[in-house]
Symmetry: C2
Subunit: 403 residues, 2 copies
């Protein structure tokens, strides 16, 4: 008689966005005349840049001709894309990587969920609170998080690092010793970013304790301040303790196109075993490469035209972020984030709960955002707005808020 | 101090295709004047069909316009594709499925590797021998297979079902009781297929013992005989014990385009827990959907033009299979497969080992195939040729063999 992985049964419901969807739909049904503006979901809205579209069409045409048709891709990614990544994302910032330290995938969500496969079950994880739910949920599925304590909204065996106004939303080195440390910088959901010396302290801590850092840099393209690192490998010693994940979702609008990558330096070893070779084995056995045409689209992101066009898209979203920050501030709100990330994290007024503020915004101003408590207990009393809407809608939302 | 998943260290090297590559390259270097014909690898060679190319271009254009741009896809797949699958692959064969019993993915390799996530570690697996290596390797990574016994080329806790000439390459019900049974039909590498009553016996056995069947139907489109089932759900009771996986790789040439799906009927429950909901949770947490443009390409496979064109491609490959079968038979070889699958499984002559025959073919006839022993110990003394080459090369290879 077969048995299921009953760790799945311990998972609490993941109802954040479905609850939001139901509330919004009920409101729209009851108020068909109101124009609801959605600044809740972290999905992009601008179309793919022209250079990417051209590359996609060209690659599709290659697939139409036996002479240029591409069958199975290299499991770990085409060299043309890995070279472009090594050159533009790393060498240009003074970080030397070999192309076989870069693994192409269908996105950072898959990679951050799957990376746990190469680690033993009995590792203790540390995560920020609030946090992107995938890190914790996938470790729960692997049996690494203990029991879920409903009243605390926490897992018994996870080290949580509260990120609040008091510590400027930067995770603090915990008193307990973790084995695997998840860091997301610039951060989803708080929109804040660690400075280089803060990240260096994490690298030093990981090296001292023999911990591995899973570094999610999906929002790297939004960094605008000088002292925020673009890759963890800018920190001394990081190649010996850190895995970095990147995505094309937010820098080039690939949320529905699916492409990302993971960097595992060959220096990263656990008692002599190379994590690079473990991941290569995992990738080659449980994955069959990202589509050729999508990898060509990824390559186009690094062309001169592609860089220019995607930079303009990021500027468009960051202009929205600025409007939101300034609009909220002038309306008397306390706001964070939005400088190195497309997320604005605001303090709910008058001690309202995150959900009360959600209802207030929806019912009175017809604006949809995301309750901070949905990302973890330390998110209570906070609220997330995103810069991914259109300029017109963002402006209108701010007008409503200022009234 | 973090620890790795040391099950990975138990995995034997996976050197089959790299050993073949090295031998072939060395031969070509030493004999630059010889024309080597490759009938070894299971990759398609015909370009994508025109209907698919048209759909890809159209979807790319949609991504270029804000009004039609698509961001995050539904985790489980777009309804347009799931509906087409339910209608064409199942309803048309008398099998009723709901669209939320179909999960779109990036391919059957990923799905057959990842499906183990939803099962407990302490399940005993049964596999055919020879077998597609992904089933065993991914279970080894999960710690489900015991120790690797090098001299036997087997894992201590796996139930192997030898498929040989004696049983016409059909896996036989084992004396030990498995919890998870992997079946691939039509089969890679033997190219043979079970008849409906043979598959029904497996379903009956699974229901009796409380086992789950992981049914890989990636080669379904190549079935030409009436009494070979196209889906396991043609068997009575299969919805209560079987998960089915399909791929667009071989029926529509998507090896480099990446699309597949898994069917988990809602009736499939383990002590009241729906496997469909476990997989939905896994899929939604560790995966972010297949690319929109690729899902539109998948939809086009089911259009009238797409069906006609992909059918012609399959006929092209199956004509190659026929030429290989007949060519080998007239040259005095004993051949199997190639009627319901694009693989021909031949007995090596004069009791040669699979690798000796590989060397013989390469050196004397300049033909590359795959040694049967590479797929498992019961593959020793057999050899795989594929029908995925060009007609010209296939004809020439047969001419050489007949001489």
């Amino acid at each position: 008689m077969y048995r299921i992985n009953d760790n799945y049964l311990k998972l609490p419901g993941s109802y954040l966005f479905s609850t939001i969807g139901k509330k919004v739909n009920a409101f729209i049904e009851a108020n068909p005349d109101k124009k609801v503006i959605r600044l809740g979901i972290g999905d992009v809205t601008l179309p793919l840049a022209p250079a990417i579209i051209t590359a996609l069409h060209k690659a599709v045409d290659e697939m139409a001709d036996a002479a240029t048709f591409k069958g199975y891709a290299p499991d770990l990614g085409y060299e043309f894309l890995r070279s472009a990544i090594v050159k533009n994302d790393y060498a240009a910032r003074g970080v030397d990587l070999a192309i076989d330290e870069v693994f192409i995938s269908d996105g950072a969500k898959s990679d951050s969920g799957n990376i746990g496969d190469i680690f033993a079950k009995n590792n203790r994880i540390a995560v920020s609170d609030p946090v992107y739910p995938v890190y914790v949920d996938t470790n729960a599925m692997a049996g690494r998080t203990g029991e879920y304590q409903k009243e605390k909204e926490r897992w018994s065996d996870v080290i949580y690092m509260p990120c609040t106004e008091e510590n400027e939303f930067a995770p603090q080195i915990p008193s307990e010793t973790p084995d695997m440390i998840y860091l997301c910088c610039p951060n989803n959901p708080t929109g804040t970013a660690m400075k280089k010396e803060q990240l260096q302290a994490w690298v030093d801590f990981a090296l001292e304790k023999g911990a591995v850092i899973i570094y999610d840099a999906a929002y790297e393209a939004y960094i605008s301040e000088e002292d925020v690192p673009h890759t963890i490998y800018e920190c001394d010693g990081a190649k010996k303790c850190a895995i970095e994940m990147r995505s094309f979702s937010k820098n080039a609008g690939f949320t529905g196109t699916r492409l990302g990558f993971t960097v595992i330096p060959k220096e990263l070893k656990c008692e002599g075993v190379s994590l690079n070779s473990l991941w290569a084995r995992r990738h080659g056995t449980k994955f069959n490469g990202a589509p050729y045409i999508i990898q060509r689209a990824g390559e186009a992101v690094y062309s001169e035209e592609g860089k220019k066009q995607t930079k303009e898209q990021i500027a468009y979203y960051m202009n929205n972020a600025k409007l939101i920050r300034e609009g909220l501030a002038s309306a008397g709100y306390t706001v964070f984030g939005g400088v190195n990330a497309p997320y604005i994290w605001l303090k709910t007024p008058d001690g309202m709960t995150s959900w009360d503020f959600f209802d207030y915004l929806l019912e009175n101003l017809n604006i949809v955002g995301t309750p901070g408590s949905g990302f973890g207990p330390s998110g209570e009393g906070y609220f997330r707005l995103t810069a991914f809407g259109s300029l017109e809608n963002t402006k209108e939302a701010m007008e409503r808020l200022k009234k």
